[in-house]
Symmetry: D2
Subunit: 463 residues, 4 copies
Amino acid sequence: MEKTRHKLWGGRFNKPTDRSVEAFTASITFDRRLAPYDVAGSIAHARMLGRQGIIPSQDAQAIMAGLQTIQKELEEGTFPFREEYEDIHMNVEVRLREHIGDVAGKLHTARSRNDQVALDVRLFLKDKCMETIDGLTGMQGALCELAEKNIDAIIPGYTHLQRAQPVLLAHHLLAYFNMFERDKGRFKDCMIRADEMPLGSGALAGVPYPVDREFLAKELGFSRITLNSMDAVSDRDFIVEYQSAAAIAMVHLSRMAEDVILWSSSEFGFLELDDSYATGSSIMPQKKNPDVAELARGKSGRVVGNLMSILTILKGLPLTYNRDLQEDKEGLFDTVDTLLSSLYVFSGMLTTASFKADAAKEALSRGYLLATDVADYLTAKGLPFREAHEVVGNLVGYAAKRGEELSELTLDEYRQFSSLFADDILGLSVEASIAARDVVGGTAPRQVRKSLSEAKQLLEREP
Amino acid sequence: MEKTRHKLWGGRFNKPTDRSVEAFTASITFDRRLAPYDVAGSIAHARMLGRQGIIPSQDAQAIMAGLQTIQKELEEGTFPFREEYEDIHMNVEVRLREHIGDVAGKLHTARSRNDQVALDVRLFLKDKCMETIDGLTGMQGALCELAEKNIDAIIPGYTHLQRAQPVLLAHHLLAYFNMFERDKGRFKDCMIRADEMPLGSGALAGVPYPVDREFLAKELGFSRITLNSMDAVSDRDFIVEYQSAAAIAMVHLSRMAEDVILWSSSEFGFLELDDSYATGSSIMPQKKNPDVAELARGKSGRVVGNLMSILTILKGLPLTYNRDLQEDKEGLFDTVDTLLSSLYVFSGMLTTASFKADAAKEALSRGYLLATDVADYLTAKGLPFREAHEVVGNLVGYAAKRGEELSELTLDEYRQFSSLFADDILGLSVEASIAARDVVGGTAPRQVRKSLSEAKQLLEREP
Amino acid sequence: MEKTRHKLWGGRFNKPTDRSVEAFTASITFDRRLAPYDVAGSIAHARMLGRQGIIPSQDAQAIMAGLQTIQKELEEGTFPFREEYEDIHMNVEVRLREHIGDVAGKLHTARSRNDQVALDVRLFLKDKCMETIDGLTGMQGALCELAEKNIDAIIPGYTHLQRAQPVLLAHHLLAYFNMFERDKGRFKDCMIRADEMPLGSGALAGVPYPVDREFLAKELGFSRITLNSMDAVSDRDFIVEYQSAAAIAMVHLSRMAEDVILWSSSEFGFLELDDSYATGSSIMPQKKNPDVAELARGKSGRVVGNLMSILTILKGLPLTYNRDLQEDKEGLFDTVDTLLSSLYVFSGMLTTASFKADAAKEALSRGYLLATDVADYLTAKGLPFREAHEVVGNLVGYAAKRGEELSELTLDEYRQFSSLFADDILGLSVEASIAARDVVGGTAPRQVRKSLSEAKQLLEREP
Amino acid sequence: MEKTRHKLWGGRFNKPTDRSVEAFTASITFDRRLAPYDVAGSIAHARMLGRQGIIPSQDAQAIMAGLQTIQKELEEGTFPFREEYEDIHMNVEVRLREHIGDVAGKLHTARSRNDQVALDVRLFLKDKCMETIDGLTGMQGALCELAEKNIDAIIPGYTHLQRAQPVLLAHHLLAYFNMFERDKGRFKDCMIRADEMPLGSGALAGVPYPVDREFLAKELGFSRITLNSMDAVSDRDFIVEYQSAAAIAMVHLSRMAEDVILWSSSEFGFLELDDSYATGSSIMPQKKNPDVAELARGKSGRVVGNLMSILTILKGLPLTYNRDLQEDKEGLFDTVDTLLSSLYVFSGMLTTASFKADAAKEALSRGYLLATDVADYLTAKGLPFREAHEVVGNLVGYAAKRGEELSELTLDEYRQFSSLFADDILGLSVEASIAARDVVGGTAPRQVRKSLSEAKQLLEREP
């Protein structure tokens, strides 16, 4: 019996837990990260217990004082995390007992580790949703900065990685601004749904004490309380929802990473990363590699995997708490850290990168990027678009065979394909093509400047 | 050239597409499902083109009339879907040409298949979000119905699949009600974010025509327009978000399925499925299997897989449109159908099932479900909960060794473990245990009836 | 009772199955694909039953004759698949009864649908493993063909998508050859492990009849029999293993697709796809898109998703058969079809593509691809590699600042960085760099030709 | 320049790497685990360099001596892992320089980190495949032990979690034995495919030195060398294959965990876990929870997620090395540790658990488990199985309505359903049912004892 003495639950057991089982089931190596939330939750709980007369007021005071000591230990890094005490809840409780003696045992009145951990993770997650939104805002700021610095820059827009139509670099960058804006929306929604206080649910059925759950919610900064105790202790939706939103955000990042990697290649050459945001090769002295972008792209796989993990973990679990749920945390922590660090480093990489106008100009001069404009020219003269499209298709085929661009053809050559062509067709230019796309959301400079200005206002409004 | 004639893009090509390539790249076998949305989008587009003078008014009229004929064909099932025409957009356009001649070619003015398919899928998805919310509401109604029918029924509540504390069956069922309520929130958020009209984005850069995008949005029932053309044609967030929400909902269903399967076993025996919602065995004549629940549980894997697919598809794609995106639809369709049918059949299974009170009663009488109440009893007498817990642990150990339940112990036996025990300890009962958990979200009948009543009001308010 | 009459298991049921449940649980829409395997399995079973005297010999004859009629119907496409009969097993049995009357009922002696479906899927899978290996061999052949056609072609080799060192195109292509060779190994291993005959396992416990399982194995072309009946009816390892091998193969394909897409871009320009293997744009007349490669890359997501599905489906299922397992087939079929068609079309795309030597040459002339060779030059002169690396790093930095390549530097300039440089440094060339890598597996022409020749021999040996 | 001095690749860079980038790209926090493999690889490489005269013999000797010192430091735990040196390769190289001075720089001749890390991970993986196979063997041994200890124990076999037919407990356990046997096959195949030595591949193109790759292979215990340098540095198949095999094995474990959890419930009650392998509740004193099984079940999600991660990471990467590949290791390490510890603890849990015969006996007496035997009885009397099945279905329906089991019916009652019933039908028993399934792989005691004996021989043969 001696050896199970330190367990919270040893009463009915006749043998100590096997060492391998202790190691296998322990969570203190990772849930120690929840310590500040755990202690904050316990302080609020103790205050409430005292206030409601569930435990004597002086006991509550003693407990709260002891917990504040622990808070200080945590801040100062002197709190002794001990692996023999299973998890963070027990580490705190044991430490509390060391500080204030047996009255510590009253803290666990009207509470279970099941609702306690639900509380801790929700508090953690709410914080991290805020940080994530900040990180996304930082990335949006970096995009705006790069766009503004190169507000007149033109690059080829691509579909199928084939040059398609000219676009403003700023327009391309703002496409990512919009993605991250949606991401922020998802994290906000996640945070709102997670904003429920679970204490009072006990192990699963609610507690037989006159707890004041609304008071606890207010103390801990929650908007409302959970409404069903069985759901409250088995619900991990907020984790899955964060993981989903993070997976989408990381996929966005992976797409931008791909663009950065392409643009940093010798072949594209539109972007030069700053030396401080690139790395070299241990064997090839000439290399300057876009490692940050590559790693961010790779890390999207990690975050997607974490999402899969939690979905698989939850699949088919009966109500209510099952120990499988302990596996919810490491993946969450990893995803939070991965997303936040990726956003931070990626932002720095963007704001220090240089756009290389010459390479873009060269790329724009080849690849028939104005072919659609020629088709639109014919359409304006009354040809149905489908027919215009076919005329220009033949025209491009003709030019390609001769190794020429459209701008190198003569009017006579144009008119071999349609008599609708007139002098003004020779005035086609990348600039005219861009200016023509003057619809909301289009790449015309007027539109893009307006978008950029609105984007910056948005960031100021919702920092 | 002849053979590429029917392509929308044959102009510059000198050889017909290989047959295997046609089959490999064709999407008409599945995107035909988008036909009604595609035609509705085209009608709005044609109206706008005419209204803005981009094409002559009478041409717009002719196109709209032709499209309405196609709408009728679709409703009547007479529209000829033809595999040689790649996708739904081309099938509609070719058919339109058959109806109204070459003027059909003007419909494609100021539009690309890239923004067209973005529109179609968004229209589809908004509809399906509504249907999904309805399906979830149906499930919630079924839960309320079963709860109400058995409002006094008590079952063991479980943690770790071990009997833990008694709870009301209705309380257990309402836990699922809450899960599905959160699911509805997610689908609503998804729908709100998807509610943006992409037409006018062209292939990627916006269109060089004076299109009225706000008019299009109003015509097609959208709240607002997309704000960046490059984002608009490469964005599939709405699909991932629906898939994520669906994966969570299916995981909820898989958990309820597990409960149903357990309860339908001989060992638990709390639930008897109606014959119309169970199936038998081709070899074992006695079997009555909960196939619906098993399949719903299994189908959660399918939906999780579809989520994984779309995330993997999107990972690392550069802007803007890449043909990989064509792979976005089949998984979405499959997830929508799977989720809707699972919700529908599962609801029917629940409302026809019978609760078996005897089995539950029997289960409640064994397993020391009131042990926590005994600990709370001692706590009320002043013992710190931790000590109370240990006393009761020893008590349970003692009883277990004798093969007895707590209710079978004498007061003397109780008092061997703590002198705090008095006569009233013998009055412990399942009913008293439940009634004691009288906090918001707890299992006390008063609370559960209130929750149920609020749940039903919610369903009435938001049908 | 009437209405459940057509069920195989209606005996103990008092109410017909709900229509929605029938639709939800039916599998005939997809498992019809197993029909030929199902009938072949039944013929062998009937032969064995007769041979062992479990049913009268003339009954066995009648059953076998009836099944052969069904085989013919299947081949001729006249077999009536009927949705009201749940699954393929029942469709066959009902049809058999229509052909030969009530004696058909004896076929189900000593057999269950549980072992029957296990048999059918194993037969299907063994066939498909063979086809997949053939498909991979076809792809390897295409790679060899393209390599041989361009045996002297040199391209930049990349790391981090930065030009790194020159390599033979053939060397790059043979890298994929090796990947597909490993894939073939995985499918062979999968096939060997799947090669076990499950009949005789009954529903789960084995059958109480003197069946001859070895005879069945021989009849059906299996190497051995399953050794545990409970495992046999719940095992789906072979499906997961096929799905895993397919996911890896599709990821290989996605990587090659990425290379093809990059090489087909204007920026790289190393490859021109044949018109018959590319598609155009409905709006941009100049476009020639590598859709096949993009779709293959996208389809990797689909196959990865299917793997995820089956893993999630199986997770946490107790023994033995659970209806969840019915969800194993559609994903498998989809993966098989996706992989086979992707391999087939991709092979065609490769063998018709043209290498563009000029673009490659141009690319090789820029990007300091010989920097490693310069470092190796210094190392040969006795400088530790690390120091040589740093010297060349500085040299490249110097040249880059002046916009020059290493080949444009003078000996004097070289010697500013190290006095070890002598005249022969000016003889550095792409060809010399390649030739120097003359180790097994290296890119020297001698090695690559040998590898190619061995690759072709391998294909001839194992067609 | 000063600050990039410690980099392996600083030559061409003008600015130090940003601190956030260093942290983001560093791998030493996790790849330190590869240290012993890295050093072993370097020793072999140095020996080969000297032997081939690529570096002077005495330099090779000095390097080898220095590396042996490092080996000792690693064993004694005194090796200084320093985060400022990026990764394990650089940590070793810097340390070597500290030990032996600048000659250390010669070690990196004819090698790149790209082929070095490929070597390290392969060495690690081969070791871990062996350990994994041992772990699986340990689990198989535990299954045999539990089976042997309870060789006569009978339990209900389940399909759809409904009691189906009686089986021997040993038979059920051996089903898992077979699963793990297949798992071992997969890890063996993985190991065989991974058994290729990649050194000599250089960064991607092979090395321009007369290296002896076969010698290296022999020194390092590899069966053969890689055959294509570009494949060798970008191949991570072995990781995916290990992850796939691990995911299947963990899914097997999750299934057995489900059985253990069910059997440990009060409702089933077939198994009692030893106190040393169970844990309690902090609130409910009576609880004895199967946490080990639950965690193992949950951890299957983690391993599945890791598989998804690596597949997503690899998807769409062009050749050859991309920094994304650095993300391959943490998931692998986590999977290896998770699988090994789960197998170990689970085995211990099994061998200490007690079978509870009474509960099983009770369960066998209810649920019509012999219904199939009754149908088989009628079939033996000449009734087609389908008709027999229906007769027994009606019989069970009749008995169920009266709340009786088949064994409680009189012969008269039997004969109401078929006149084929005679006296001997009353002799039906669980034991007879089991004994009748006397086919290879069936549950008859004779067969199961034989299977168990063969299983044990297998373990002795392949320890």
